[in-house]
Every structure is written in structure tokens, then in C-alpha cells.
Amino acid sequence: MGLDLLPRPNPRGPRIGLALIAIAVVLLAIGSYIGLFRAPPEHYMGEVQRIMYVHVPTAWNAMLALTVAFVCALVFLFKPSWKWDARLEAALEVGVILAFLLCVQGSIWAKPTWGVWWDWDPRLTTTAVMLAAFLGILALRRFVEDPIKRATWSAVGTIVAFADVPIVYFSVRWWNSLHQTQSTPETVDSAMVLPLRINAFGVLFLMVGFLMLRSWLAQRRLAQELAPPPETSRPSTSEERSLASTLELGGDAR
């Protein structure tokens, strides 16, 4: 089984990740500049609409990150290896953070537009339920000490939670609805599409960059956790050394 092999984090991982994050920062700066100063304000919502240039890319990438987590979970269950467990952990964490940001941005936008911070709209509620479900899996990872059980269970939990997302969406949609219907490039002015596209790629690079950094970190942690204990005859920690010296002193006194 692939779990017998210790994870070997790619030494170039952090460098590529950081490079992607740097590109993302540049893209987000350009996209947000165009979105904030060049694009026209929306007819009905006015300046508030400009949050769309971060909100919509965050939504797309939150979905994408959690889909990556689902794929990692599937691959792990069929072909177990620590690499995919590390990637699963990274994708879960990045996805949860993006989903959280999505809820926060949505609330900021909803207050001036709908007059309330929160509403029981399908997409909003689905995001919140998704956030809670995947946070539960991150909590599960903290509670389970055995690395093999932790990896398998979080993969199982991810698959179950991901399968639940469409059902939650439809159930809430039948239950209540208020959110904007999705816009397509045809219904949106071209001056608004450009900053949206740039920012979408910006958040995408940011997400992939963080994913790479986080999975590199997870692999290093796993390597440390799974490494066999060093076989030394001499006491290693300072505590043990001081204990040994006390015992020796006691022996001398006798």
C-alpha cells in the first residue's frame, strides 16, 4: 500500500507556490483597480455592486477548491498515498477559508442592498451549510490521532459532504429564495467583464498558490509524524539528560 512510503515534500513546492501568489497579487491589483475606478457603477445598485469583482471570483474558487478536495478524497480512497492526504487537507482548508470569506463579503453586500446582513437564500444558506460541514471535517482531523484513520475518515467525510451540497442547494431553493439570478457575460457590460475575469484568475492563482504551500507543509508535518523514532542509546532531550545526571549524582552519593 502507498501508505508505507513516507511522504517526500517537493523542495521546489514553496517556491512555485510563492511565485503563483505573487502573480495573483499583481492580477488582483490590476483587476481591482479597473473594477474600482474604470468600470461604470451599476444602474440600480450603484457603487455597492463593485464588491462583485471579488465576491464572484471568491465564489467560483471556493467551489473549485472544495471540488479539488473531493477529487483528492476519491483518489486517496482508491489509491492511498500520503501525498493525496496532504493535498486533501490543503484543499479543505483553502476551501473553508474561501467559503468563509464568501459569507463575509456576501453579508457586506447584502446589508446596503437587501437591508439585512443575512437572508435564507439558497446560495447563501448552501454556502453556510457547506462551511459548517467542511469545518466539521477539519475538526475531525484534529480529533483523530492515528494518521491512517485520520486520512481515511476525512476522505470519507469529504465525499459525503460534497454529495450533500446539491441536495442542500435544492432543498433551500424550494424553501425560500431572494438571491440575484446568475449573470452571464451577455447580460453584463464588457467594461465589467474584464475586471471580473482578471480578478477571477487572480483568486485562482492565489488559491493554487496557497494549496501548494499548504500541502507542502502538510507533507512535511506527516513526514515528521510518521518518521520512525531515532534509535539512539544516549538520552536525547535535555530533560532526559538532566534526569540521567541526577540519577548518576545519586549513585555517586551512595
Binding site: 480512497l77 451549510v129 466539521g136 432543498s171
Partner: protein
């Protein structure tokens, strides 16, 4: 039995949240029934694996010439039956405290059956995980509650419609949603259960 008493206490406490307003109580009866059942379900589900983990009996069960899949469906069916009985046991308490109109009792029992089935399939899967962890009482609701939001929504909506009258005939579509949830999660959780309990 202890689970029914717990659920009844939950119903009693929830009625205090509303106060002695007969109309409001009647309107909220469907929702409170399911919240009480959901809380009781975590007790029942956690209990269903306690005997196995205490004496390491789960490992003994795995040595039997059966598959984990069979073990899952046995556990899940037992949990379903137990939750259904708890739900039925809560109905008289609901009548006394909230005075709902139980004219469509058979349909309500049908929704109870579908909803408790929806709770027990993922519930059994997660109880199998949680039973092997120290923080069992925290972990099971943390994992289960977000997952069963559709069950809760559909069951609450359907039972409220059955209790308060259904002029638009919407109960059928909510029952269909519950059926879909069960249709997805009973096979899926059965497939994944092997990965959870095997070493």
C-alpha cells in the same frame, strides 16, 4: 426508552421558548418535533456503537464471514427502527404540549419514516467514526448536523404542511426530496463504511 424521555424533555423545553401562546405553539409543532428528534438521534446513534467499542467487539464482528457492508445495513436498519419508534413515542407528547391537528396521522408517520431513515444512514456512518474517538459527544453532531440540513428542512416542511393543512399539495415534493436523500445516502454510506471500520 431513555431517548424518548430525552426527546420529550426537549419538546417541553422548546415549548417554553414560545410561551403559552396556543396558536404559535400549534404552528411550530412540526419544527419542534424534528429538532427534538434530531437531538435524540445523536444519543441513539452514539449508543448503537458503544457496546462494540467497549469490549472491542467490533473487531470480533469484523472477523465473522460477513462484509462491512452487511454490518452497516444491519446497524443502519436498527437505528432507523429505533428513531422511528422514538418519533412515534414523541407524537403523544407533541399532542399534549402543542395541540396540533393530527387528522393526517398515517402521512405524518410516513414522513417520520422517511426522515428518520435520512438521519440514520449518515448517522450510522459517522457514529462508527465517532465511537473510536475520545471527543465522541462533540464530533458526532458536528459532522452530522450540517449534513442532514436537507432532511430537517424537508421533514419540517412536510410535517408542518400535514399538521396545518396543505392547500397547494406540496407535501409530495418534500417527500420526494426525502426519498432522493435516502436514495443517495443509503448506498453511498454503505459503500464508504468499509473504509471507516477496517484497519
Amino acid at each position: 426508552m431513555a431517548v424518548v424521555v430525552f426527546g420529550a424533555t426537549a419538546l417541553l423545553l422548546l415549548s417554553f421558548a414560545v410561551g403559552p401562546n396556543a396558536t404559535a405553539l400549534r404552528q411550530l409543532a412540526g419544527g419542534f418535533l424534528w429538532v427534538a428528534l434530531l437531538f435524540s438521534s445523536t444519543l441513539a446513534l452514539a449508543e448503537s456503537f458503544r457496546a462494540e467499542t467497549e469490549q472491542k467487539a467490533l473487531e470480533g464482528l469484523l472477523l465473522l464471514p460477513t462484509t462491512p457492508v452487511a454490518l452497516f445495513y444491519a446497524k443502519a436498519l436498527a437505528n432507523w427502527l429505533q428513531l422511528l419508534l422514538v418519533g412515534m413515542g414523541l407524537l403523544p407528547v407533541l399532542v399534549i404540549l402543542y395541540d396540533p391537528d393530527l387528522a393526517r396521522l398515517p402521512e405524518i408517520c410516513g414522513i417520520l419514516a422517511l426522515g428518520s431513515a435520512g438521519l440514520s444512514a449518515p448517522g450510522t456512518l459517522y457514529a462508527g467514526m465517532a465511537s473510536q474517538v475520545r471527543a465522541q459527544q462533540v464530533l458526532l453532531p458536528l459532522l452530522l448536523f450540517p449534513l442532514v440540513v436537507p432532511v430537517l428542512l424537508a421533514a419540517v416542511k412536510a410535517s408542518s404542511l400535514l399538521l396545518l393543512g396543505d392547500p397547494m399539495g406540496q407535501v409530495g415534493s418534500w417527500a420526494l426530496l426525502l426519498l432522493t436523500f435516502n436514495g443517495i445516502f443509503w448506498p453511498l454510506c454503505g459503500l464508504l463504511f468499509g473504509a471507516v471500520i477496517e484497519e
